[in-house]
Amino acid sequence: MASEEMEQLVRREYKDGFVTDIESDTLPPGLDENTIAFISKKKGEPEWMLEWRLDAYRQWLKMEAPSWAHLDYPPIDYQSISYFSAPKRPEDRPQSLDEVDPKLLETYEKLGIPLHERAALAGVAVDAVFDSVSVATTFKKQLGEAGVIFCSISEAIRDYPELIKQYLGTVVPVADNYFAALNSAVFTDGSFVFVPEGVTCPMELSTYFRINAANTGQFERTLIICESRAQVSYLEGCTAPMRDENQLHAAVVELVALDDAYIKYSTVQNWYPGDENGVGGIYNFVTKRGDCRGDRSRISWTQVETGSAITWKYPSCVLRGKDSIGEFYSVAVTNGRQQADTGTKMIHIGEGTRSYIVAKGISAGRSDQSYRGLVKIGPRAKGARNFTQCDSLLIGDKCGAHTFPYQEIGNSTATIEHEATTSKIGEDQLFYCQSRGISEEDAVSMIVNGFCKDVFQELPMEFAVEAEALLNVTLEGAVG
């Protein structure tokens, strides 16, 4: 075929692409501008949103996947992924828990997941998501009275276009990085939170979300805005291993805190890590960034990362406002063949800004884990301070832990403290506990939980209890 003809064909396809069968629920694999137009139309988005997505896509085409991370995985074929699939129809899903993998159910049992949530997490077709609907309605009413907006990002694009235009992509620009650009082009859902001036969100945004989260797509987009003196605590994820057929996950989370605002964002991530050979696990490439835009604002990231075959994730804070505070508390656990490259970035721009980093990495099995952290102090950040503590714990002798701290100090009034330790889970500690009558498995979990205590105490109470249980399940059989 002559290249001219080819070009024509391509152009025609592009032109005709917009009439793709909108009734269909799932797109065939492949990514081009038609795909994006389809998603945008499916979501009932305005024209400007489509343009925004297309702009991201065109920039993405010119970018290359990052290769600097300490990760090893085959190249991803972006044309082999389906970018839009509606949730499975009820008749295609397991009809009851009896049809679900007993191993999965056993894990739920160990984690203490409430009975009524297990079905939803396992993907069972349940009528109207049980009692959570009424719970959700009650929550919505309570939030509405406080003036808090909490809805899906798709709803927000339709119902609050001014807020979206004002804030979306202002923390993580569309072309920030390869995965963020991809997400900007093809995101299908996520959450939107807006807390108006002076309001403290009357509840932790969690329980309701947890159930709905089970069906969130692979390209999640979250935007949280706290106006002056507003506060919110947001919990993402779930301790239960979630069923998901999508291997690639590339989420973007943007947080904006204005003067004196406080956003606390907690994550428990437990995606499927793959089998013992690492086959079938989820690739998790996430861009999370908080913008302390206002003076004395504060953004706190707390994360417990136990799942995924590959994790690439650096929740960061841009400390723009005077005396603003950024915090990062992290526990990352890898077992089996998991790989994680995670850490944070603290960008100090404003005067008197402070940041705290406490990162705990636990490697077991044949897993490999890296902490990567950047502390950057700009020339105007007079009197900025950072404290970093970075501890690695190794279980067994086939795993690895690496630490890559970067510091860029642009003025002489800054104070930076860095502490790092790497230890092998002590034979002596294990022997000590066992010689008191405690089994090896319980001893390991006791020691590991102790190691993570500084981070767990930053989690909301309920989450902390779940996180401990999760750690124990994750590390089952890691020793011996």
């Binding site: 500690q429 022997f431 010689s435 008191r436 009558g437 405690i438 090896e440 020691i447 939980n449 102790g450």
Partner: protein
């Protein structure tokens, strides 16, 4: 209660114990003394099940059961408890949590069920008082930032709470000043009972002024070369181990 017969133990290819035989009955307090490197700590470590010690010959039985076949935690559950010379630090794990986990693990293994929390707290507070320890100890991480004396007291506190049948104390007096030693000795003495035995491993005689043993064994070069009563320890203090070694040779 405990019978050690012709025990040979190798560590990294070196034979440390070379045919040790020892019998301890309920109600007795035994002291094992000897020069550095004689194998004193090896004996208690092997009985407790520490890794890296290879038994090449001999047997250890406790109440008729083969100790060497048991898992580490099973030995503790059966009533064998080792007090460490150098107790290890466990950051982030509260002392009270370790105590409770250990006690309940042992009780559950014995089919007694977990101890109700109020009863447990009452027990611990009583024992704390005995060891002249402040309640704040319970909330601190296990041995973290403890002084030498505090660590030793903490070991005895565990003994008092866990109530083993055979308490083995490895150099429990090392690094203690005289006041701390008295508190530790009082704690150990309070453990003395008809149905319980105590095995003290020590380098110095002075501990035995406070905890008077029924039998003293002198361990030299992997074997017990002499056994006597508390008087033997005093002789050792006066003449040193060399005198014994010479008399044996």
């Amino acid at each position: 209660m405990l019978q050690v017969k012709d025990l040979h133990v190798t560590v990294e290819g070196n034979e440390i114990l070379k045919g040790l035989t020892l019998t301890i009955n309920a109600g007795e307090v035994h002291a094992i003394m000897g020069p550095n490197g004689a194998g004193k700590s090896t004996l208690s470590a092997v009985i407790a099940g520490k890794d890296g010690y290879e038994v090449t010959q001999g047997t250890v039985t406790f109440e008729g059961k083969d100790v060497l076949e048991m898992e580490i935690e099973e030995r503790a559950q059966a009533g064998l408890l080792l007090g460490f010379q150098y107790p290890v630090e466990i950051p982030g794990v509260k002392n009270i949590y370790l105590l409770k986990s250990a006690l309940n693990a042992q009780r559950v293994a014995r089919g007694e069920g977990e101890m109700p929390a109020p009863e447990f707290m009452k027990l611990v507070k009583e024992k704390l008082g005995y060891m002249k320890m402040d309640a704040s100890f319970l909330q601190r991480a296990v041995n973290e930032g403890f002084s030498g004396g505090e660590k030793k007291r903490n070991e005895i506190l565990q003994m008092l709470v866990l109530q083993p049948k055979l308490a083995m104390l490895d150099e429990i007096d090392s690094g203690l000043d005289i006041d701390a030693m008295k508190v530790v000795a009082d704690g150990v003495n309070s453990l003395r009972a008809e149905d319980r035995a105590i095995l003290l491993v020590t380098h110095y005689q002075r501990l035995l002024d406070y905890i008077v043993p029924d039998q003293v064994h002198v361990l030299v070069d992997g074997r017990i070369v002499k056994t006597g009563d508390a008087e033997l320890a005093k002789q050792l203090e006066a003449n040193g181990y060399e005198g014994i070694e010479e008399s044996v040779a």
